[in-house]
């Protein structure tokens, strides 16, 4: 359709300013999502290193921790929506097909990926789990090829190869400590990438119609509730759950972690909605690099050169899988 700009140069300039401001806001949201997800990963590692998690069996500890984290994140997000008058919108969106798809996607992203990611952090450490889990766009591309018959382009293929090289570099040198569990941690981090890849693929069904503030609330609530109602009875985890939520220090750290997690997902979904999924995902995936920064600042961990190089390579590969760099250049020229 032809565009009429009435009001001459003034209208054109104001329109360009408004659109640039909107995209800048989306970019800031995307950058914030990467920064906060790296921070959340470190806080989660910190909380689960304390009693009662530290002394509990790892599967139970990770399920309980994710149940608490995702439920608290859903509460933060529900509070935000209710405060801004969107409480009813949550129920309305739940009753749509895209809303139900977000619920299904949450089962892959929450009970499977989030729990596996935490097990990856617990066994191998956050600095190793983060770059491996960043393979999720690669998994998303493979699953879309298998189930949705989407072709894998040359660019995506090259990005996938770069990711795999980066992953090998990250996991090639074992850290000091317990090398037996290290590879188990790497395996769980890979499972997280598979879960998030599946979540991404399922979320494509109509989510572009949904308000991201609502979509992420449904996602976290579904994830938290499914573990609380189904996961914890299966593993007999209610005792550990009760013990964790009654320890002020643990629940305090987890509440902060959940707020950071909620901020991360909210800003990520906002970025996807404001400046497109490709750019949003590229900015979000920088959580790997932010994770290194936060690990050094908060945990005083020493990060090896190999891990940093591998992490940067995985990040570049994941960005290449998610977005065509030419799109950025073309947009700049436009």
């Amino acid at each position: 359709m032809s565009q009429a700009v009435v009001g001459g140069q003034n209208a054109s300039r104001l329109k360009a300013d408004l659109e640039a401001k909107f995209e800048r806001k989306g970019t800031v949201h995307g950058a914030m999502s990467g920064m906060t997800y790296g921070l959340y990963s470190v806080i989660l590692g910190l909380a689960t290193a304390k009693a009662p998690f530290a002394t509990a069996p790892l599967i139970a500890a990770s399920l309980v921790a994710i149940a608490i984290n995702d439920s608290l994140a859903a509460l933060w997000l529900t509070g935000l929506n209710v405060m801004q008058g969107r409480g009813k919108e949550i129920i309305r969106n739940l009753c749509t097909f895209p809303g139900m798809m977000v619920c299904l996607a949450a089962l892959f992203g929450g009970p499977i990926a989030n729990v596996a990611y935490l097990l990856g952090i617990m066994y191998a450490g956050a600095t190793y789990a983060m770059p491996i889990s960043a393979l999720c766009p690669v998994v998303g591309a493979i699953l879309s090829r298998i189930f949705m018959k989407q072709k894998i382009s040359k660019r995506v293929g090259i990005g996938m190869t770069i990711c795999i090289i980066g992953t090998i570099i990250v996991s090639y040198v074992k850290p000091d400590g317990n090398p037996q569990n290290f590879y188990l941690g790497i395996a769980f981090s890979l499972l997280a990438a598979i879960g998030w890849g599946a979540e991404g693929m399922i979320s494509t069904f109509g989510m572009s119609m949904m308000d991201p503030k609502i979509a992420i609330t449904i996602r976290d609530a579904m994830s938290g509730l499914s573990i609380l109602i189904v996961g914890l009875p299966i593993i007999g985890g209610y005792k550990l759950f009760a013990s964790a939520i009654t320890q002020p220090e643990v629940i305090g750290i987890m509440a902060i972690g959940a707020l950071v997690c909620a901020t991360s997902f909210l800003t990520w979904y906002n970025a996807n909605s404001m400046c497109g999924v490709a750019k949003g995902m590229s900015l979000n995936i920088t959580y790997v690099l932010w994770g290194f920064v936060w690990s050094i600042i908060i945990l005083h961990e020493s990060v090896t050169g190999m891990v940093v190089v591998g992490g940067i390579i995985v990040t570049i590969g994941a960005i290449l899988v998610s977005v065509n760099p030419m799109d950025f250049i073309r947009k700049e020229e436009a």
């Binding site: 009001g7 104001l14 329109k15 909107f22 919108e89 309305r92 749509t96 991201p212 909605s273």
Partner: protein, 90 residues
């Protein structure tokens, strides 16, 4: 049950050639007018996000009498496809 407001915005766009956020708001007033999210800022956000997601397109811009910028949008084929696929009770 009412449809989510962003779904209704997109559905409304299938009934008009083009519309600005103010016009969309007026069309939605009977359904959502009493709810706190019913603000001009929200409707500008709905329109701009639906455009960023490739479901709406630019359909012109003008300055009103008070010098305020008014942006117009129209639905594209992808947007129409989404409405026919995912709009509740469709």
């Amino acid at each position: 049950m009412k449809a989510p407001v962003r779904f209704r915005v997109l559905e409304y766009m299938t009934t008009v050639e083009k519309a600005c956020p103010d016009e969309i708001m007026e069309a939605m007033r009977n359904e959502y007018g009493t709810e706190r999210h019913f603000t001009k800022k929200s409707f500008i956000d709905h329109a701009m996000c639906l455009k960023a997601n490739g479901l709406l397109e630019d359909a012109g811009a003008e300055l009103n009498d008070s010098g305020e910028l008014i942006l117009f949008y129209s639905i594209n084929e992808e947007g129409k496809k989404m409405v026919s696929k995912y709009m509740p009770n469709k």
